[in-house]
């Protein structure tokens, strides 16, 4: 299912759109055509699940949508602005301002406390004063249930807690788009449900588009839209 939305005075209802994305990976004889002309849209306030077997191109699509990678062909628009042909600096700036990432292995910076990890994207964007950054980071950690552990280093948190910090960090700059690559893939059932609920509740509260890649059918079922992929195409 692909949803499309008409543009309003405040901008398009969709936060993210791509058209005809192609991507090859590898070199020479090992070169694989991973994405074969994928198109996709994500509206604000909606949660999308991209599902499919390993190697079908889900994560590759997610990294392209998150501007972490460049397509060989096709277009990507973020908040109505075409980004696929921009230089690295513009794409990096767009990531910092409009996109939040949650990865399977959380990727917390372990030498920093939970609070510092959440403040890190805010410090780069520089939109808030230091005191306001600190206040927002505290509020975000409160909202993911870690208000009492703000000063713990990454190494002093459990896997579930680290993933919750990663969610708070992804939301730090109030991005329009939240991209999650197997956010519950490394967690037990209880923590999986907790993390998914948090992700969807916070995104819905803030009107953010959430796109997550998952192997977990239960998680996928609970999303607003599920997009199955096979061999580099949505089916």
């Amino acid at each position: 299912m692909t949803s499309s939305a008409p543009a309003s005075a405040a901008g398009p209802a969709w936060a993210l759109r791509c058209r005809g994305l192609h991507r090859h990976l590898g070199e020479g004889e090992g070169r694989v055509h991973v994405l074969k002309g994928v198109s996709f849209e994500a509206e604000r306030g909606q949660v999308y699940a991209i599902v499919g077997p390993s190697g079908c191109g889900k994560s590759t699509l997610l990294y392209l949508l998150g501007l972490l990678d460049r397509p060989d062909e096709g277009e990507i628009e973020i908040n109505g602005r075409r980004m696929s042909n921009h230089d690295d600096a513009a794409r990096t700036a767009a990531r910092g301002e409009h996109i939040g990432f949650v990865f399977q292995f959380h990727f917390l910076m372990l030498e920093f406390t939970a609070l510092e990890n959440v403040m890190m994207p805010m410090r780069k964007l520089g939109r808030l004063a230091p005191a306001a950054m600190r206040e927002r980071a505290h509020a975000l950690l409160d909202s993911v249930g870690l208000g009492a552990k703000t000063h713990r280093l990454g190494t002093q948190l459990s896997g579930g807690e680290q993933q919750r910090v990663a969610i708070a960090r992804a939301l730090a700059n109030q991005p329009a788009i939240l991209l999650a690559d197997e956010p519950t893939g490394n967690l037990d059932v209880r923590n999986s449900n907790l993390v998914f609920d948090l992700l969807t509740r916070l995104a819905k509260d803030n009107g953010q588009a959430v796109v997550l890649v998952t192997h977990n059918p239960e998680i996928a079922q609970r999303c607003d839209v599920t997009r199955p992929m096979r061999d580099g195409l949505f089916v």
């Binding site: 590759t60 990294y63 972490l68 990096t92 990432f101 990727f107 910076m109 780069k124 230091p130 690559d181």
Partner: protein, 414 residues
């Protein structure tokens, strides 16, 4: 710590304590040893310079230039005159020292000028006979162009001043002739002899001088050497001895006499000191090179270990230049601490070396290791470390910045 890049750099660095301490230790050693070697080698060079300036002054004027057709033609072209010295002939000595001295005093860098009458003599003490050189001086003039006042070790300059037949005898010569202050000796030259009294014994530390030079009052020397007028040379001291070559060139052009600056006079020894300084600088730079390699190694390790952190930073909006800066900040932090600690180490070791007893007597006299306290050595050491460490750090820093976040997250980062 307000910069996010600096904050991240600090945490990355302190997470690799052992490697960081190794880089830091190498930087401290590099900076410290650079300072110590420069302090010691230039210490001896400066002491030598002070010694020879204290004996022979900064500039000597001797021998009048006899104009020839060739030199006169060249003189019209300004500096080209000096390039054609082979066309110049000289007349020995200074014919009109007073006029020349008055002209020399007009030069702003000139501190003092002394006319000297010199001649070969024989000294006869009660013990033995020695060859020597007599220098006839006007004491008031000569103390302004030499360190004679500080070089007197026995007797006093005042005794010499008050004794028209007094002599200042070098320490080595006095020992050879077994002379003490108050003893008399006979000076013979050109068939004439005179009895003089040792008013004082001086020691410059330059053995050749202490072995041969005897100072007499100029009237006494003129009488002995049968030279009623003129002078052998003019000795000049300068406010800024480093400018001696320029002043000498100008003096030669204006006064039409042969003028030699101390740098030309002592060029053999100065070349030896320069070679010594450069060789130690090269040796010590190896330590700084090791420091830069250690920094390279530390940063390369951190890049390898922090690829995921680099990916997450890039995903959060940190630009490639932020990543470069994070790694250069790490080098900067090590350099900042290393430079301060290295400078302190350098200063401490320099002070300790200055306490080492080391009797030297030959081209100068000292009983301790000589060091120089010069801020330029500290600046040079820090600058060398900064350049070498930062250049070595650029490679891993640029490699970190080139990492593609998509590749890292996919787990295919090369």
């Amino acid at each position: 710590m307000t910069s996010p890049n600096l904050r991240i750099a600090y945490r990355f660095l302190t997470a690799k304590k052992r490697a960081m301490v190794m880089s830091l230790a190498c930087t401290i050693l590099g900076v410290g040893l650079f300072i110590v070697t420069q302090a010691t080698t230039s210490g001896f060079e400066r002491f030598f310079t002070k010694t020879i300036l204290g004996i022979n002054g900064a500039i000597r004027i001797e021998d009048k230039i006899q104009d020839t057709m060739r030199s006169m033609a060249a003189a019209g072209g300004g500096d080209s005159h000096f390039a054609r010295r082979d066309g110049v002939k000289y007349i020995e000595g200074i014919e009109e020292p007073q006029a020349l001295m008055a002209a020399v005093r007009e030069f702003p860098n000139v501190r003092g000028v002394s006319a000297v009458v010199r001649g070969n003599v024989q000294l006869q003490s009660a013990f033995k006979l020695e060859d020597a050189q007599v220098f006839g001086i006007r004491l008031e003039d000569h103390v302004r162009v030499s360190d004679l006042a500080e070089q007197v070790t026995n007797g006093s300059l005042e005794d010499f001043r008050n004794s028209p037949t007094g002599a200042l005898v070098g320490r080595v010569l006095a020992d050879r002739l077994q002379l003490a202050v108050g003893d008399s000796l006979v000076i013979s030259a050109r068939g004439a002899s005179r009895r003089v009294q040792v008013a004082a014994i001086y020691e410059t530390g330059y053995r050749e001088v202490d072995k041969t030079n005897v100072y007499l009052h100029q009237p006494e020397a003129r009488s002995l050497l049968k030279r009623p007028s003129g002078a052998t040379f003019l000795q000049i001291s300068l406010h800024d001895p480093a400018r001696a070559p320029q002043d000498a060139a100008r003096l030669e052009q204006v006064l039409r006499h042969s003028v030699k600056p101390w740098q030309e006079r002592e060029k053999t020894w100065l070349a030896v000191f320069r070679a010594l300084r450069i060789s130690t600088m090269i040796t010590v730079s190896v330590f700084t090179l090791i420091a830069s390699l250690a920094m390279f190694n530390t940063l390369a390790m951190i890049v390898l270990e922090k690829t995921k952190d680099i990916a997450i930073l890039r995903s959060m909006g940190y630009e490639r230049r932020d990543v470069t800066r994070i790694f250069l900040w790490q080098a900067g932090l090590v350099l900042a601490v290393g430079a301060v600690a290295g400078a302190l180490l350098g200063a401490a070791v320099t002070w300790l070396v200055a306490q080492v007893p080391l009797p030297i007597n030959g081209i100068f006299k000292t009983d301790r290791f000589i060091v120089t306290w010069d801020p330029a050595h500290y600046a040079g050491a820090v600058l060398t470390a900064v350049v070498m460490v930062m250049v070595a750090s650029l490679i891993p820093a640029r490699r970190a910045a080139r990492l593609e976040p998509g590749d890292i997250v996919r787990g295919t980062a090369q």
